[in-house]
Amino acid sequence: MIYHQVLVVGGGLAGLRAAIETGDKLDVAVISRVNPVRSHSVAAQGGINGALANAENGRDDTPERHAFDTVKGSDYLADQDAVEIMTHDAPIRIIEMEHWGCPFSRTPEGKIAQRPFGGAGYPRTCYAADKTGHALLHTMYEQAIRRGVQVYEEWQVQRLVLENGKTRGVIAMNLITGQLEAFQAEAVLLATGGAGRVFARSTNSLIVTGAGQAMAYKAGIPLKDMEFIQFHPTALYGPSILISEAARGEGGYLKNNRGERFMEKYAPKAMELSPRDIVARSIQTEINEGRGFGDPGAGGYVHLDLTHLGKEKIMERLPAIRDIAMSFAGVDPIEKPIPIQPGMHYTMGGIDCNADGETVAEGFYAAGEVACVSVHGANRLGGNSLLETIVFGQRSGAAMLRYVMGLDKTRQGTIALEAALREEKERVEELLQRDGAENPGRLHEELRNTMFYKIGVFRQEEEMREGLEKVRELKDRVKKIHIAHKGRRYNLDLARNLELEGMVEMAEVIALGAITRKESRGSHYRLDHRERDDANWLKHTLAYRTDDGPRLDYKPVTITRYQPEARRY
């Protein structure tokens, strides 16, 4: 049995930041199913928010204003105490990344450059061209190397082991050899990212599968606000690769098939830079009402027009966007508009935890997109999730340090871990032996389509019920999947499909939460309940696992100084 005082599952920004925080004082190891620089964080484009007040027209910006924008953007579902912590820590953590070498773009005076982003009152989004996630993740990885943080690369964690409400460790599979191993630890942090690939048309990396949420849920930890799924307005038509909000931040226009800047009708003040939920619905409405382009059967699209920005600005500020449009759509945005449509983008909900990453189980922590603190509420503002990873990565690392230093009994739970390892080995064996008729690839696809088309941008009772029924059908069919390859070494077929059951359970939680919440709030927009209903629904959803599916419960939202009001842009 492998032992570390602290185990961090996930080598993205949140996980590495936590490991760096604890690494000097404790024996910490990171487990990740890919080399850390392959983590989804690397794909973030537009930037990271912090009230540095560096921009010419942003000198009055403050953490309080950042907090207000975040709370308003969240449609008042965010916990305001947590938001305040995040926006106050933001400048400290961003400057720290700069000191560690992050190659931020610069203002003429040489400070970190900041650009406007949706839902923000000031240019507050610090950026490294349109490759901010890459710049941050590589810098974080470099600091982990500098400190000698140990990483178990290409290990897939399968199970979280708790015993009487206390954390004992995890069970993981070495992807290269196929061997299962028990890892014992005093504290475990899940920093495994979002659940994007439960949906079709996702902008997320292919490895963003909700594994962490599913693992925690299975271990009895409640998931919070899972029905809130962000649909990004501008995913590239076809492969759904993200075209960053930075494209609009730098002045890009959205146009329909009549050449109209249609945002005028929906948000005359903020226009293209309204929050994402609003822009995504506006685009979808244009497409649905016949003012889009292309085949509506394939979803249709509208134009994101950058041509008026000119070659120089595009090359300097949006080089990666240009690369993506040219490589994946054959369009050079200097000359032609980019075809875009809304795509699934971000998982606002996640493991229920507080601003120190603490959950209901002792020694079990969560940070980053897998967590729900909640700072994003019903709709995340662009640039706030990279921020969340480094702020709450650091805080949960510090909290684990305090926790482990205070323990008097250590290395507990050996028997529970051994039992869990045996069970997990049996589960793998059973899956390999199973002579089922279902093709797992097809089940993945049915699941993704069901979620996107039944519990998507616009929601209504009947469709969502159909969706939930389909998900429950899939839950049965998953038990009959067939794994074609029986070998152990780098068995992708096995590794991917061990996750399928958990993905279906996440879909069920999302669907049930959405059906039950009879209001519209942020990203959760119901055609049959179009208004926000604070009297009944200003509360967080909690989903607990039972053998018959999720049991829902609710808990209040923390409000400090910003009273809920109507959201207008």
Partner: protein, 244 residues
Amino acid sequence: MADLDVKVFRFDPDTDDKPRYDTYQVTYREGMTILDVLFYILENLDGSLAFRYACREAICGNCAMYVNGLQRLACKTQVKDLKTTELFIEPLPSLPVIKDLVVDLDSFFGKYVSIKPYLIPAESPPEKEYYQSQSDRHVLNEAVDCILCGACYSSCPAVWTDEDYLGPAALIKAFRFYADSRDGAQKERLDLVAHEHGLWRCHTVFNCVEVCPKGIDNTSAIQYLKKQAVGRALGMGVGKRAAT
């Protein structure tokens, strides 16, 4: 486009004595990438195929492989750009095979770590950010784009013949920090790379430049470091940063 005839390198050291090539017929669809082809095979034809992937948008660097005779990212390579229906997909040459298209990158990352790939500032940091002029930042533009995919390393003849050669990626990383106005370890950085298994091993073959999926001009950066090293040997001091 007609159906694709895809030959894939296969090797599982647990069960196979030697590698072989399997052939698959894959139905082409508009916009198909090499990564799409591999997933089609995995999900429909052969569950035993192993390959790496993650972001599918050419930024994570996990899917570098050898496709029709060149190191490429599977996700960024459009089938139609290869202008043939016959595809040859192999692991990155010159690296040990773990299974099929998955290679062992330990030597690659080991060399990357050896050049101290992190900022080493000269003095303790200011309260706010370090100031860096736009032109100083501009110098780093290409070098910071490296995604550590290993394509350049696999393409370099100097790597093939000298197993201790640091290779283009580690050297571009050395340049990236050497040229950063915030870094204070220029002398140490040159010492780490100015030796026979470092800068001097590069014979400007330019393979690395040709295959880099991010369009980084590795060779020029290496040449720049060579000049700096020569300059120092001639007693001209180090640390002057001019745009390359």
